[in-house]
Amino acid sequence: MNTLLAWLHAPWPWYVSGPLIGAMVPLMLWIGNRSFGISNNLRHLCAIVQPRAVGVDFFQYNWREHSWSLVFAGGAVLGGFFAGVVFANPQPINLSIDALTMFSYWNVPIGGGFLPPVLFDFNWLSLLVMFGGGVMVGFGTRYASGCTSGHAITGLSTLQPQSLLAVFGIFAGGLFSAHVITPHLFSIFW
């Protein structure tokens, strides 16, 4: 029992968590011929709140047909609560020495291990950064019709060339901003 609890509290190595994430692809197919992915829910949420008078085509469809997807996202929110609050990891995140050196050079404290305190704390500048980055994430995933789960995991494991193109774009974009934008971002906070 104690071993199980310790295991639920600890972070999982890549060779446990990676296969579990990958297993989502056949699992969703088996449940109901669904493509594993989560970012479509952003569209469904927009479709739910769109007032009739506005009427942007992209959000005019019967979102109720996609209720399964919203239920999946609801599960993911609750899963996050269980994994991050109920079974929270008591240890600091086990980053590589190289990464720790870089973050101390960037002047970014490690904090809880998920979001840096400067991006997590309730202050307008950090909320603005998270919001602005979120706009890019939301715009980009809809433009590409999928995110890391839909393209990098589902698309690549079902051998779809469009997903390879998307993953190439995702990685190129991420490399650019992580190297050119993010290191300078923190200087505005200090």
């Binding site: 999982w12 890549w14 060779y15 990676g18 994430i21 990958g22 297993a23 056949p26 449940i31 109901g32 011929n33 493509s35 829910n41 952003l42 927009c46 399964w68 996202a73 599960g75 993911a76 899963g79 996050g80 609560f81 269980f82 994994a83 991050g84 190289d98 870089m102 973050f103 291990g113 998920f114 979001l115 840096p116 704390d121 309730f122 909320l127 998270m130 919001f131 602005g132 979120g134 706009v135 890019m136 994430v137 939301g138 715009f139 980009g140 809809r142 433009y143 019709s145 995110c147 890391t148 789960s149 990098a152 494991s157 079902t158 998307a166 190439f168 974009g173 991420g174 650019f176 190297h179």
Partner: protein, 138 residues
């Protein structure tokens, strides 16, 4: 009851997003600086498992879905620029906030205010795409 399997799958997915630390801004930066194998190990083993699972599912194991339909792998719509440019814009955001949509949902469940701001941004971004869709190359 019809939605229970989706709920349980989502629960497992959200749990793994946190336990794998794929929802960690630090892990994503570490990945983009090639400082650890962790995230690459997750991606590669996930794709290998997905690929093997789909082959097993189609060829050997369960030929039908829970509803009794035969299994058909949904295909991505044809396109070129949308996948490349969309991916690029998403990646630009990912390299800053260190959260992709799955982790955004899981971190919201953890009560993260930052993730809530990212979710609000992502909804606005989605909305903007809906507005601009017909003027963008696909």
């Amino acid at each position: 009851m019809r939605f229970l399997p989706y709920f349980l799958a989502g629960l497992a997915f959200g749990f793994v997003m946190i336990k794998s630390e794929a929802a960690s801004w630090y892990r994503i930066m570490e990945m983009f600086y090639f400082q650890s194998f962790h995230m690459f190990g997750i991606m590669m083993s996930a794709i290998a498992t997905g690929l093997t699972g789909v082959i097993l599912l189609k060829r050997f194991w369960h030929p039908r879905t829970l509803d009794g339909e035969s299994i058909v792998i949904p295909q991505k719509a044809p396109g070129r620029y949308n996948y490349l440019f969309g991916g690029l814009i998403f990646g630009l955001g990912w390299g800053i906030i260190g959260l992709c949509p799955g982790p955004i949902f899981s971190l919201v469940g953890m009560g993260s205010v930052g993730a809530l701001a990212a979710l609000a941004g992502a909804l606005h971004g989605t909305w903007l795409y809906g507005l601009a869709k017909n003027r963008l190359p696909h």
